[in-house]
C-alpha cells in the first residue's frame, strides 16, 4: 500500500509540473490554481505513504536510495508550496515542481519494498540527522529554482531584450529575497544536520569526522553556502552573484546526495543502487 502511494504521487507531481508549465506559457490562472492543488494532493498522499511505511518498518524510512529520493521529492514539494503561498509566486512552480517530479520518478524506478534496517543505522539520530538535511536541501532546491529565474530575468533587463519570459517572471528583488530567505533557513539546517551527523558518527563509528566522501562533500557544500551567507551579510553580495552561488550550491547538494552515493564508495553507502 505505502509503496503504491509513494510511487503514485509521482503522477501528481507530474500533472502539477505540467500545469505550472502550462500556466507559465499561457498565463491562464487556472493552470497555476490546479497545479497547486495537484501538488498539495501529492504532498498529502506522499506524507501519508511515509507514515504508513514508518508504521510497517518501525523506523524512519529514509535508509535506502528509493526512500531517500522519494523523501527528497516530498520535502521539495512541501518547501515549494510554502514559498509559493507565502510570496504568491506561481511562476516558481514551473522551475521547482519538475524537481520534485524528477526525484519522484527516479525513485519510482527503484524497488520499493521495505528492506530492513542496517544495524549501524538503528539509532535515534537517524530521523534527526536525515530530516534536518533533507529539509535544508529542499529549501536550497527552492533557492536553486529562484536563482535560475533570477538569471533569466536579469539577463533580459540587462541586455534590454525582453523576451516572452520578461512579463512572466517576477521582479528581480523578489527573486533575490527568496534567495536570501532560503539561505537563512537552509544554512542553519545544513549546519545542524552535519553536526548531528558528526555526533552520531562518534557513537556509531567511533570518530566525529573520518573524511568519508559524503562528509567531505557535505563540508564543500557547507563552505559554499557559508561563503554566500557571509558575502551577503558583509559586502552585500546579492543579485546575480547570489543567484549563481545558489545554483552552484544546489549542484553540490545534489552531488553530495547522489553523486557520492552512486560514484564514490564510502561509509555512507546505505543508499546506492546495489541496495
Amino acid at each position: 500500500m505505502h509503496v503504491l502511494l509513494l510511487k503514485a504521487t509521482t503522477a501528481f507531481y507530474l500533472v502539477g509540473s505540467v500545469l505550472y508549465l502550462y500556466f507559465i506559457v499561457t498565463l491562464k490562472e487556472r493552470g497555476a490554481r490546479l497545479g497547486r492543488m495537484f501538488l498539495m494532493a501529492g504532498v498529502v498522499l506522499h506524507a501519508a505513504g511515509f507514515a504508513l511505511r514508518y508504521a510497517e518498518a518501525g523506523y524512519t524510512p529514509v535508509t535506502n536510495l528509493f526512500e531517500s529520493l522519494s523523501f527528497f521529492a516530498l520535502t521539495i514539494a512541501g518547501a515549494f508550496l510554502v514559498v509559493e503561498i507565502r510570496y504568491n509566486l506561481r511562476t516558481l512552480g514551473a522551475f521547482v515542481a519538475p524537481l520534485a517530479f524528477a526525484f519522484s520518478i527516479f525513485a519510482a524506478f527503484l524497488p520499493g519494498e521495505v528492506a530492513g534496517l542496517a544495524p549501524a543505522l538503528n539509532s535515534y539520530w537517524l530521523p534527526i540527522h536525515v530530516l534536518l538535511l533533507f529539509i535544508g536541501d529542499a529549501v536550497f532546491a527552492v533557492a536553486f529554482g529562484a536563482g535560475i529565474m533570477y538569471l533569466l530575468q536579469e539577463k533580459q533587463v540587462k541586455s534590454k531584450r525582453m523576451g516572452p519570459l520578461f512579463r512572466r517572471l517576477p521582479s528581480l528583488e523578489v527573486l533575490d529575497e527568496i534567495n536570501y530567505r532560503c539561505l537563512t533557513i537552509g544554512f542553519p539546517l545544513l549546519t545542524m544536520g552535519i553536526i548531528t551527523g558528526s555526533i552520531w558518527a562518534e557513537y556509531a563509528w567511533g570518530s566525529y569526522w573520518s573524511w568519508d566522501p559524503k562528509e567531505t562533500w557535505s563540508l564543500i557544500t557547507w563552505l559554499l553556502y557559508a561563503a554566500l551567507l557571509h558575502g551577503r551579510l558583509t559586502v552585500g553580495w546579492r543579485g546575480r552573484k547570489a543567484a549563481i552561488l545558489a545554483i552552484i550550491g544546489f549542484c553540490a547538494v545534489l552531488f553530495t546526495f547522489l553523486g557520492v552515493n552512486l560514484l564514490l564508495p564510502g561509509l555512507h553507502s546505505y543508499s546506492n543502487l546495489s541496495r
Binding site: V157, K158, E173
Partner: protein, 729 residues
C-alpha cells in the same frame, strides 16, 4: 424583435474636422438620445462619442430602415448635408455590429491598439443610455456582454498589457527590477517634459519619495514642491545619489554627468542594492557603460523606445488571439439573441392560431347545431390537426439552428407574414429596480403557476424629467399613471408597483390584488466620505429625492444642506461617488434587491427616519374584471404586510397626501393588533409631528384615519395647508 445596428465614423474613415462636427458633448447626450429614439424604427439606442470616433448603436425593428434613419438623424442633428456625411459613415448590422462593438470596447479598433481608455468611454456611453432610459433589455444585455468580452480580452491576451509609452515603459521596468516601489526613492535630475511625466507615473506607482535637482536651484525647489519631494543643490548630487534607487535624468549637459566610475562607487556604498538609471537626455547624461556594473541598469531614450517597439509588435501578435475571442463571443451572443426571439415568437404564433381555431370551432359547432360531444370532438380534432400541420413548417424552421442564415431576419419575417404583435405581458418603469421587481414577480408566477409571463417596459414622464424635484412634477403618482393607462387599455395584464408610489385612489376598473412581503423598510445612508449620518460635518451636502427624508433628517440636523437627487439608482449612486454629494439617502430594500447592499454605509433606524407609506412592499395591480390574472397572482399576497400597508394608506388617505408631502407612516402587526406610527412635518424640518396608535386588524384603514386625526389635531393640519399652498396645488 429587431436588429442591432451601428452607424458611425472613426479615425480611419473621417478626418478630424468631420469627427469634431459629429461629436456629442455630454451635456447634449439627453437631447440627442431622445431625438434618436423619436425615429420610427429605432427602439433602443446608445451614442458613443470620443475624439476618435462617433458611433450610434441602436436596436432597430429592421436593419436597413434603422440604418437610414440613424444616418438621417446624424445629418439633421449636426446639420451636415447627407451627401457630404454619407461618404464618411460606416454601418454594421446584426453579427457585424455585435463584432464591431466588441472590437471597439476591447480596443482592437483603436488608433493605439490596446489603449485602455476606450472601454471607459463605452461604459460612459452605456451610462448615458441608462440615465436617459434609451436602453432596453437587448442593448442592456449587449453592453453587459461587451464589457465582459473586453475584460476577457484584457485578461487572456496581452493586447493591453505592455507599456507603449516611454514613461510607462520606465515604470514597468522599475517594477520588474524592484517589485514593490513603495520603499524606493527616485531622483530627478534636470527637467525634461518626458522625465517629469515619468516621475509622475513613478509617484503614482507608489514610489516613496523623490529628490529633485537642477542647475538652477529655484527650479528644483519649484519642481520638488510640485511633486512633494526634496530639492537638492546640483553640486550636492554626488552626495545624495546613493540614496536614489531610480534616477531620472534629462539635463542639457553636453557631456556625461554620471560616469561609470561614479556608479561603481555609489553601488559599492549601497552594498550592491540595485539602481535603475533612466537617461532621457540627448546627448546622454549617463555613461551607457555603467550598465555593465552589476546590479545597475541604465536605459536611455533609445532603449526605452526599443522596448516600446517590441511591445507594440507583441500587441499585434496578441491581437490575433483577441480577434478569436471576439469571434467566439459573437457566436455566443448570437445564440442568446436567437433564444430571445425564437421562443416568444413560437409562443405568440401558437397562441394566435389557437385562438383562431377556437373561434372557428365554436362557429362550426353552432352552425352544425350539433350538441353531441362526438361531432364537437371531430370538428375540434380536424381543426387541431390542420393547425398543427400548417404551423409545423414555420415552427420547425424557427427552431432550426441558424447555420449562416440570419435568424433575426427569419423571426422578423415570420412575425410579419403571420402578423404577430410584439411580445406583451407586464410592466414596470424602465429602470433596473423596476425591472428587478417585474422579473421577481414574473419568476414567482412562472414558478408557482407554470404560466408564461412577458415583460413590457413602459417609459414614464417621470423618468424623462430629471431636473425638477419629484415633488413639483405633475401631482401624485407620477410614475404610476402611464402604467395604469397601459393596464386599462389591455396592453398589459398586470402592473408591479412599489407600494409607496401607488396613489391612494386607484382609477375605476383597477385594483391592487396582492401586496408582497415587505423588505427592509429602512432608509440607507450611503457615503464614501463619512461612516455614518452622525458623522456628517456641519453644512454637509445630502442628496435625497424624498421630502419625507428631507423633513425628518433636517429635523434632526438643521445645519445640513439637503438637495434633490433624481435618476435611477445607479445614476444616484454615481452622483454621490463622483463627489456631487457628501452623502445620499436611498431605500435600503431597493439596494438589497439589486445586490448593492455593500454600498450601504449605515442603516438609518426608524426612530430617526420613519419609512414611507408602503415602503419595501410591492403591489400587484390588475384590472378588476380579470379573474384569471387575479387567481394567478393572489398567492403573492403577504397577510401581515398587506394589513400594515392598508393602515398606512388609510393614514395617507385621510391626510390627502401623495408622495409630494412630508408624510411617513409605518405599521407592524402584533398578534391581532396593528401598531401604527405616523409623521407629518415641514419640508425644512423646523417642525416634525410624530405619533402612534394601535388598532384591531379587522379595520386597518380606520386605524390609519384615527392616527391621522390625532396628528391633524396636533398641528399637522396647519403644516399640510402650508405645504400644499407652496406646491401650488
Amino acid at each position: 424583435m429587431g436588429q442591432i445596428i451601428i452607424i458611425g465614423v472613426n479615425h480611419r474613415t473621417a478626418p478630424v474636422e468631420i469627427r469634431e462636427r459629429l461629436a456629442f458633448p455630454p451635456e447634449a447626450m439627453g437631447r440627442a438620445l431622445r431625438g434618436l429614439l423619436e425615429k420610427e424604427s429605432l427602439k433602443e439606442g446608445v451614442i458613443l462619442s470620443t475624439c476618435n470616433r462617433v458611433e450610434v448603436c441602436s436596436l432597430a425593428r429592421q436593419g436597413f430602415l434603422g440604418t437610414a434613419e440613424v444616418k438621417e438623424f446624424l445629418a439633421a442633428y449636426h446639420a451636415i448635408p447627407s451627401e457630404e456625411l454619407n461618404g464618411y459613415l460606416y454601418h454594421y448590422e446584426g453579427d457585424e455590429a455585435v463584432k464591431h462593438m466588441f472590437r471597439v470596447a476591447s480596443s482592437l479598433d483603436s488608433m493605439v491598439l490596446g489603449e485602455p481608455q476606450i472601454l471607459g468611454q463605452v461604459k460612459d456611453a452605456y451610462g448615458y443610455g441608462a440615465e436617459f432610459q434609451t436602453i432596453g433589455p437587448i442593448l442592456d444585455k449587449f453592453f453587459a456582454k461587451t464589457f465582459s468580452v473586453a475584460k476577457r480580452v484584457r485578461t487572456e491576451t496581452r493586447v493591453a498589457s505592455s507599456a507603449v509609452s516611454v514613461s510607462y515603459a520606465a515604470v514597468e521596468l522599475a517594477r520588474k527590477i524592484f517589485g514593490e516601489l513603495s520603499d524606493k526613492t527616485a531622483m530627478l535630475i534636470g527637467a525634461g517634459e518626458m522625465c517629469e511625466l515619468a516621475a509622475r507615473h513613478l509617484l503614482s506607482a507608489g514610489v516613496r519619495g523623490i529628490m529633485v535637482t537642477n542647475r538652477t536651484f529655484e527650479r528644483a525647489v519649484k519642481l520638488a514642491e510640485e511633486f512633494g519631494g526634496t530639492p537638492i543643490r546640483f553640486d550636492e548630487l554626488p552626495v545624495h545619489l546613493k540614496r536614489a534607487d531610480i534616477v531620472l535624468s534629462s539635463t542639457g549637459a553636453p557631456h556625461f554627468i554620471i560616469r561609470k566610475h561614479d556608479v561603481e562607487e555609489v553601488i559599492r556604498i549601497r552594498k550592491n542594492r540595485p539602481m535603475f538609471f533612466i537617461d532621457m537626455a540627448v546627448p546622454r547624461d549617463i555613461d551607457p557603460d555603467a550598465n555593465q556594473v552589476d546590479n545597475v541598469y541604465v536605459y536611455d531614450i533609445d532603449d526605452l523606445n526599443n522596448v516600446i517597439d517590441l511591445n507594440l509588435e507583441e500587441r499585434q501578435k496578441e491581437a490575433v488571439k483577441a480577434e478569436e475571442i471576439v469571434e467566439e463571443e459573437v457566436r455566443a451572443f448570437r445564440r442568446w439573441l436567437d433564444a430571445q426571439q425564437v421562443t416568444p415568437t413560437i409562443i405568440t404564433l401558437r397562441r394566435k392560431y389557437e385562438e383562431v381555431k377556437n373561434v372557428e370551432v365554436a362557429k362550426a359547432v353552432s352552425m352544425l347545431g350539433a350538441e353531441d360531444p362526438k361531432t364537437r370532438k371531430v370538428v375540434e380534432s380536424l381543426a387541431s390537426s390542420l393547425l398543427n400541420k400548417i404551423l409545423h413548417a414555420p415552427i420547425a424552421s424557427l427552431k432550426k439552428d441558424a447555420d449562416g442564415r440570419n435568424q433575426m431576419e427569419l423571426v422578423a419575417l415570420v412575425r410579419e407574414i403571420f402578423d404577430l404583435p410584439e411580445a406583451s405581458g407586464r410592466t414596470g418603469r424602465g429602470s433596473k429596480l423596476a425591472l428587478w421587481q417585474a422579473e421577481f414577480v414574473q419568476s414567482e408566477i412562472e414558478r408557482k403557476t407554470g404560466r408564461k409571463v412577458g415583460i413590457t417596459r413602459i417609459k414614464t414622464t417621470g423618468d424623462m424629467i430629471l431636473d425638477v424635484p419629484l415633488a413639483r412634477v405633475g401631482g401624485k403618482g407620477l410614475f404610476v399613471k402611464e402604467i395604469e393607462e397601459a393596464l386599462l387599455s389591455g396592453q398589459i395584464d398586470l402592473a408591479v408597483h412599489s407600494m409607496k408610489d401607488v396613489p391612494t385612489d386607484l382609477p375605476d376598473g383597477l385594483t391592487i390584488v396582492a401586496i408582497t412581503r415587505r423588505e427592509d423598510p429602512r432608509d440607507a445612508f450611503l457615503s464614501v466620505k463619512y461612516r455614518s449620518f452622525a458623522e456628517l460635518p456641519r453644512g454637509a451636502k445630502l442628496g435625497t429625492s424624498s421630502l419625507r427624508r428631507q423633513t425628518q433628517l433636517l429635523g434632526l440636523r438643521p445645519d445640513l444642506s439637503v438637495e434633490s437627487l433624481r435618476g435611477n439608482l445607479d445614476t444616484r449612486i454615481r452622483k454621490m461617488e463622483e463627489g456631487r454629494f457628501d452623502a445620499i439617502i436611498l431605500a435600503a430594500a431597493g439596494l438589497r434587491r439589486l445586490g448593492w447592499e455593500s454600498k450601504i454605509t449605515q442603516y438609518i433606524p426608524e426612530e430617526m427616519s420613519l419609512p414611507a407609506i408602503g415602503q419595501g412592499a410591492l403591489g400587484i395591480e390588475i384590472r378588476s374584471d380579470d379573474p384569471d390574472t387575479r387567481e394567478a397572482v393572489s398567492f403573492l399576497n403577504d397577510r401581515e404586510t398587506a394589513l400594515a400597508v392598508r393602515a398606512e394608506r388609510g393614514f395617507l388617505k385621510r391626510l390627502e397626501g401623495g408622495c409630494q408631502v412630508p408624510i411617513a407612516s409605518h405599521g407592524r402587526v402584533e398578534g391581532d393588533k396593528i401598531v401604527l406610527q405616523g409623521m407629518v412635518g415641514r419640508p425644512d424640518g423646523s417642525e416634525v409631528i410624530r405619533g402612534s396608535a394601535q388598532g384591531s386588524i379587522s379595520d386597518p384603514e380606520a386605524l390609519g384615519v384615527v392616527l391621522a386625526e390625532q396628528l391633524l389635531g396636533r398641528g399637522a393640519m396647519k403644516i399640510l395647508d402650508e405645504v400644499y399652498r407652496a406646491a401650488g396645488s
